[in-house]
């Protein structure tokens, strides 16, 4: 872990000093930060870690896919507390967590155990009081705002308990929102047909191909959550963060959603971190960790 910390610091400072413009795989200059633009891991390779490469990480190898490693996502000593009416309520008291690439991890915990907070910290929606979040070995919780936004847009996909689709937009438009956010007006406009095709493909994959033009209030809960998942996946993120994705659904639909997530994990080469209070849902994940008292208590597979 120490190694991890030292190398990542070296990396981020080097890339920022030189101002090196990374190129996306298709050769187009990309305005994305190396952290965002680089595919950190080849998700199909699970052949162990490579200490040598990790140590020799420098600017030149930023563009190149790194060898697969133990952890895609690591959380170290995460502390977070909220202030309410001048009383400090500690929520996380030093959480350590490692997520391997391609893994489907479920974090279980009671309501108020801080699992959503943990997910928000991983997804860069909030700042930890102490501790660090690493993505592929690079510290990401302290990067500049612009890069945080890009990471949220491209690297993480988010699914919420209450779906959170924008009521003014149709299903298709809702799914395209992350694409629009991540690209300038013109670059979106030039490639809009391509993005549309990808969105429709995705909707068909999750079984909503017939609901393109419907507004969110015309969809059922299961359909809404499917649409939300499609939205989370449109930018081909590496990691899908799901916050109680089945919390508002009946068990049957919930199971369907979970199966969908599993399928997607395989087809889209995703890593999934899901928080839930429902053990039966969590049982469908690869690995379960339990969060209570602000710490990861036990791990079960």
């Amino acid at each position: 872990m120490n190694k991890l910390t030292s190398t990542t610091d070296g990396l981020s400072s080097a890339s920022q000093e030189t101002g090196h413009l990374p190129r996306s795989p298709n050769g187009e200059p990309s305005d994305a930060h190396p952290l965002v633009a680089r595919p950190h891991f080849s998700l199909r390779k699970h052949d162990g870690s490579s200490e040598t490469l990790r140590q020799s990480q420098d600017l030149e190898c930023v563009d190149e896919p790194a060898e697969a490693t133990e952890c895609l996502l690591s959380v170290r000593g995460l502390v977070k507390s909220y202030r309410k009416a001048n009383v400090e309520i500690p929520v996380l008291k030093g959480v350590d967590l490692d997520v391997r690439p391609g893994e489907f991890l479920a974090i279980v915990g009671q309501s108020g155990s801080g699992k959503s907070t943990l997910l928000h910290l991983i997804g860069l929606l909030d700042h930890p009081d102490q501790g660090a979040v690493f993505l592929g070995g690079d510290r990401i919780d302290n990067v500049p705002v612009r890069i945080r936004d890009q990471l949220r847009n491209r690297t993480f996909g988010m699914v919420f308990q209450f779906y959170h689709l924008l009521p003014e937009l149709t299903t298709l438009e809702n799914i395209l929102v992350p694409v629009m956010i991540g690209r300038s007006f013109w670059s979106y406009w030039r490639q809009r047909k391509e993005y549309r095709r990808r969105a429709i493909e995705l909707l068909e994959l999750i079984g909503l191909g017939h609901r393109l033009k419907h507004r969110p209030h015309e969809l059922s809960g299961g359909e809404l959550q499917r649409a939300a998942i499609a939205r989370a996946l449109i930018n081909r993120p590496q990691i899908l963060l799901a916050d109680e994705p089945t919390g508002n659904l009946d068990p049957e639909t919930g199971a369907e959603i979970l199966n969908l997530l599993r399928t997607l994990r395989d087809e889209e080469h995703l890593t999934i971190v899901m928080v839930t209070h429902d053990h039966s849902i969590a049982a469908l994940a690869d690995r379960i960790v339990c969060l209570s008292g602000g710490k990861i208590r036990n791990e079960a597979t």
């Binding site: 928000h120 949220r152 919420f160 959170h164 003014e168 937009l169 929102v177 956010i181 406009w189």
Partner: protein
């Protein structure tokens, strides 16, 4: 992209926000209407003032005037000949007008202006405002046989006919003379004709001038001869009721003019003139004040002719400049060349400065007030935007969770404000332009509904409300309205941008 999409969708779904920009719309429409009408009025007024006054006025500071206008004109031409198109000498003197209506004598204070009939038409629109078509082409102080306009030739719309004018001319004069003779015969009271006692009394009277002014020395028969011609401002001879002009006098009638002579102290002289035409500039101030007579006659009457040279004194020289000449520059050149203690040299703008400034001031104040209305509308937008931001808190959280930057979220609401401003100002533009286009119909309709004339031609001397739409003014109004809409959305947009994503997502 998502910003514009969301702006557009918000615009289409939040009707309450549209309600908040109705005041912007109304403000913009009112500003356009007010500016168009004020500009129309100003333009019309300036045109008329300019038409009446000529470009530059070279005036003596004294009513006594200065001698030898030809020499002065030569000097003026030497100083600024390159810019001068035409000049005419005039004599201006305050006086009294007397005429008989029925048995009563009417007395009116007037400004008597002696004009040179050959050159007056070259420097101003003077002849355009006359009522006989021949006089408009070729000014003459001789009474015409008939054929005076029975319809206002300057009216750019329907106007009520002036039937009484059909009688004007020699026909009217002969009839009036016959009638008077009959009355005299019936009363058996032979009344003495009184041809120009005042002129006779003047020490400088030149008997040879009489023939020139068509005034017989011997027996005067009003049926066949006239006194010196005079052109009266139409306001002196008529009054208007409900758009219909009623005439107290017609061309062919005789009037008396009384005025002071030169010299200290001045004496009062008086003479009889025959009205030969009316002058209607549509500026009531002038139409109710001006009496034009031949300059030579006025000079004699006032004793302004130098007996040794036979040259008359004049008060002023009106100068018309060539098109494109810089009025102020020529004025300054002349001011430098002539002794300022004797000569006042002004452009027509200078001499009407206070009036033009008052109109401009009025327009400016109206604009400020109306712009404040739009500003008030801005606060409406602010309040409603705050509500929308609160309502959209969760959506903002989602957008941020999906990677939208604070600036992006902010620009949604700024863009929304701009879009509302565009819609509001656009609707205001349409409404304002439609209103301006149909302003006369609307004024008529309002008049019919309220029973009170909104635009009373008795007051304004225009039959229609003059309007001019200035694209620049309209552009500024639109830009101002849009700017206010954007400014009003800055605070709510900032609030939205500052929302913490986690708190926003938790917001119920």
């Amino acid at each position: 992209m998502y910003r514009w999409l969301l702006c557009w969708r918000y615009l289409k779904t939040r009707y309450i926000a549209l309600a908040s920009i109705i005041s912007v719309t109304l403000g913009v429409a009112t500003m356009i209407v007010v500016n168009s009408v004020m500009l129309g009025f100003t333009h019309e007024m300036q045109n008329r003032l300019h038409g009446i006054l000529s470009d530059l006025i070279f005036q003596s500071r004294s009513l006594e005037g200065f001698p030898d206008p030809d020499w002065h004109m030569e000097q003026i031409r030497r100083v600024a000949g390159d810019a001068i198109e035409a000049m005419t000498p005039t004599v201006v003197v305050p006086g009294m007008l007397n005429y008989q209506v029925g048995d009563a004598w009417m007395t009116r204070p007037v400004q008597i202006i002696g004009v040179d009939e050959r050159t007056q038409a070259q420097v101003s629109d003077f002849s355009k405002y006359l009522q006989h078509p021949e006089n408009r082409k070729n000014l003459s102080f001789n009474l015409r046989e008939g054929g005076y306009d029975v319809i206002d030739h300057q009216a750019d719309g329907p106007s009520l006919p002036r039937d009484e004018m059909a009688l004007a001319g020699w026909e009217h004069r002969r009839r009036a003379a016959r009638l008077r003779k009959m009355i005299e015969q019936v009363q058996q009271e032979p009344e003495q004709q009184s041809p120009s006692q005042g002129a006779e009394a003047s020490p400088f009277t030149n008997p040879f001038e009489r023939a020139q002014t068509n005034e017989p020395v011997a027996a005067f028969d009003p049926e066949t001869s006239q006194y010196t011609g005079a052109i009266l401002g139409i306001g002196l001879a008529s009054f208007r009721r409900n758009g219909q002009d009623h005439f107290l006098l017609l061309p062919g009638d005789d009037v008396k003019l009384t005025l002071p002579t030169v010299g200290t102290p001045p004496r009062i002289v008086s003479d009889t003139f025959t009205v030969v035409d009316f002058y209607e500039s549509k500026m009531s101030e002038y139409d109710a004040n001006f009496v034009f007579v031949p300059i030579r006659v006025l000079q004699q009457l006032r004793g302004m002719i130098d007996p040794s040279t036979g040259k008359g004194y004049v008060n002023a020289i009106s100068i018309k400049l060539k098109p494109g000449a810089d009025m102020n520059e020529v004025r300054d050149r002349l001011r430098n060349a002539f002794a300022p203690q004797y000569y006042a040299i002004d452009t027509w703008r200078d001499s009407q400065g206070p009036l033009l400034a008052a109109v401009n001031m009025e327009t400016a104040i109206l604009n400020v007030l109306l712009f404040l209305i739009i500003c008030v509308a801005g606060f409406g937008i602010l309040a409603i935007f705050f509500m929308i931001v609160v309502e959209k808190t969760r959506d903002i959280g989602i957008l941020k969770a999906l990677g939208a930057s604070a600036a992006g979220v902010m620009s949604i609401f700024l863009g929304y404000g701009l879009l509302l401003g565009v819609v509001g100002a656009g609707a205001g533009l349409t409404l304002g332009l439609l209103f301006v286009r149909h302003i006369n119909e609307i004024a008529d309709l309002l008049g019919r509904i309220t029973g009170h004339r909104v635009f009373d031609p008795d007051i304004y001397y225009f039959y229609k409300i003059p309007t001019i739409v200035d694209p620049w003014t309209v552009g500024w109004i639109m830009a101002g309205a849009m700017l206010i809409a954007v400014l009003a959305s800055v605070l709510p947009a900032l609030r939205a941008a500052r929302l913490h994503p986690v708190e926003a997502l938790r917001y119920e």
